[in-house]
């Protein structure tokens, strides 16, 4: 994790953002309070965003979520600081977020999804069983 890069003085906004991330991470460490920064509404230039991305670096975890376009998620070199990049189906970035959290909500499986997948799995399993039952029956008949 080679992550300590110097702030360059020509991007004051990036400096401010790094400061805010530090404050949010402190809050997470001390109080367990989660935070996030939405980069869309900020007057950032593309190179500012790139600089912030480079400064935060890449950590151990990265993931891709496929819902109506790709969502790229990676933990930055600073544990607890995540980058969420939502894209649309045209592969255009629609939102960039820095989330300060233990794990981004979107990576967790929701309870209701667990329930519905259990139902689905049971259905599949049942049909599979039925099919296998049917097969053995055929066998017996053949014999």
């Amino acid at each position: 994790m080679n992550c300590t890069k110097e702030f360059t003085h020509n991007a004051p906004f990036v400096h401010v953002l790094m400061h805010e991330i530090t404050v949010l991470l402190g809050d997470l460490a001390l109080n367990g309070k989660e935070g996030a920064i939405d980069l869309r509404g900020l007057p950032l230039l593309d190179q500012d965003k790139k600089q912030l991305e480079d400064l935060l670096g890449r950590g151990e975890v990265s993931a891709i979520v496929n819902i109506m376009g790709e969502t790229q998620i990676w933990e930055t070199a600073y544990s607890g600081v995540w980058w969420l990049r939502h894209k649309d189906t045209g592969d255009k970035v629609i939102s960039d977020q820095v989330a300060v959290t233990i794990i981004p909500e979107i990576l967790k499986t929701h309870k209701s999804d667990v329930k519905s997948s259990l139902e689905r799995l049971r259905t599949v399993f049942k049909t599979e069983e039925k099919r296998e039952d049917g097969n053995s029956h055929d066998h017996e008949q053949l014999r």
């Binding site: 509404g41 376009g69 189906t89």
Partner: protein, 381 residues
């Protein structure tokens, strides 16, 4: 977009309609879709990013929202804006979240069946449905200038709004009267806000409004069950809180005093500020400069034309699209010429009076001196 069939089923079975979460799961889409959609909408509306989780949870629990779309004196541009923006994107989820129960242009049925669908939706979702209106309502001569199914627009509006939860006036015509309301307003067109007084009303002006503004506002109402914060013209502050000028990428040129003087000069080619070519950006509150159009491709100023200020009341009567904001309205030439003539006449007249007065005074003075001289000579004599 067809009329809602599940609604009818509910009436007969008496079952609660399924939640949006159930609906997506049925299609094999996980809850993460809500999170992504909510993250995007929260970002558009400048809500704190942490609100996205709350919004996603609320959306998942919400049931399909019945929407009745009324089109009055309009050009269908607002509907075009909303539907032509369609790529298979996240924004389209809003069409899954709502049940569009009545919409002239989009619904499959017509005639009595269409009106039937509207009345059914009103009955089944009493007090809960949202009425979207595009177009102004003519009220002159009993409102005969625009009628649907034998009813004036005013009658349909009053009937439909009566049991609605909220009303959304989409487009400049519905929000402020729009083009039909333009001077001399031959049909007596009025905005929805003049007619709907006792229901929550949101104005989403624009000619047309930005599709994401429409879908974002509906998502907000759907997930929070209330109306977003509005400005004095009933526009959501998150979309209409700042001027085009404040968010314009050409703003630095304004600050440096670099202006295009015509549409094909060097300044125009270099992308300088369009203020002198009549840009209304400084008084137009809208999100075009940040959200842009056609999926974020561009917006009028980026394409080289000044802002018309279409999200503001009476934008066509603001003295012409190509007149700079700092100029007076109307032609001053003849009035000023008249004033000059009047002023000159007044000046000449007062000078003439002064000359006359001075002449008389001098004459009196001379006469007086003569008299005095005469008296003196008499005395001497």
């Amino acid at each position: 977009m067809t009329t809602n069939s599940s609604g009818k089923k509910n009436l007969t079975t008496g079952r609660q309609p399924e939640t949006l979460s159930d609906m997506l799961q049925r299609r094999g889409v996980s809850r993460r879709a809500f999170l992504k959609y909510a993250a995007m909408t929260a970002s558009l509306m400048a809500l704190p990013p942490t609100m996205a989780n709350v919004m996603a949870a609320n959306l998942a629990r919400a049931r399909r929202q019945s929407v009745i779309w009324l089109s009055f004196q309009e050009c269908t541009g607002c509907t075009e804006s909303l539907t032509r923006s369609m790529r298979p994107t996240l924004e389209d989820l809003i069409f899954d979240f709502i049940s569009l129960d009545y919409h002239h242009t989009l619904q499959a049925v017509s005639g009595h069946a269409a009106e039937e669908a509207r009345r059914n939706a009103m009955k089944e979702n009493k007090g809960k449905y949202i009425v979207i209106v595009d177009g102004s309502v003519p009220i002159k001569d009993g409102g005969i200038y625009s009628m649907i199914a034998g009813m004036t627009n005013l009658q349909i509006l009053e009937e439909t709004v009566n049991d609605a939860f909220a009303v959304v006036a989409v487009g400049t015509c519905a929000a402020y009267g729009g083009l039909p309301h333009a001077d001399p307003n031959p049909t007596g067109a009025v905005p929805i806000s003049d007619l709907v007084k006792d229901k929550p009303l949101i104005n989403l002006p624009g000619c047309p409004p930005i599709p994401e503004v429409m879908s974002g506002t509906l998502s907000y109402v759907l997930s929070f069950g209330k109306i977003p914060e509005l400005d004095h013209l009933a526009r959501p502050l998150s979309f209409y809180g700042e001027t085009i000028h404040d968010r314009c990428y050409r703003r630095p040129f304004y600050d440096r005093g670099l202006f295009a003087k015509s549409f094909d000069d060097e300044g125009a080619r270099k992308g300088w500020c369009l203020y002198e070519l009549g840009c209304k950006g400084p008084v137009a509150y809208n999100s075009c400069a940040t959200m842009k159009w056609n999926g974020g491709v561009s917006f009028p100023i980026q394409s080289g034309h000044g802002c018309l200020g279409c999200s503001e009341p009476n934008f066509w009567d603001m003295g012409g699209f190509y007149k700079p904001l700092s100029t007076g309205l109307g032609n001053m030439g003849s009035a000023l010429a008249g004033a000059a003539v009047a002023g000159a006449a007044l000046g000449g007249g007062s000078a003439w009076l002064a000359r006359k007065h001075q002449g008389e005074y001098m004459k009196n003075l001379v006469d007086h001196e003569k008299d005095k001289a005469g008296q003196n000579s008499k005395k001497e004599n």
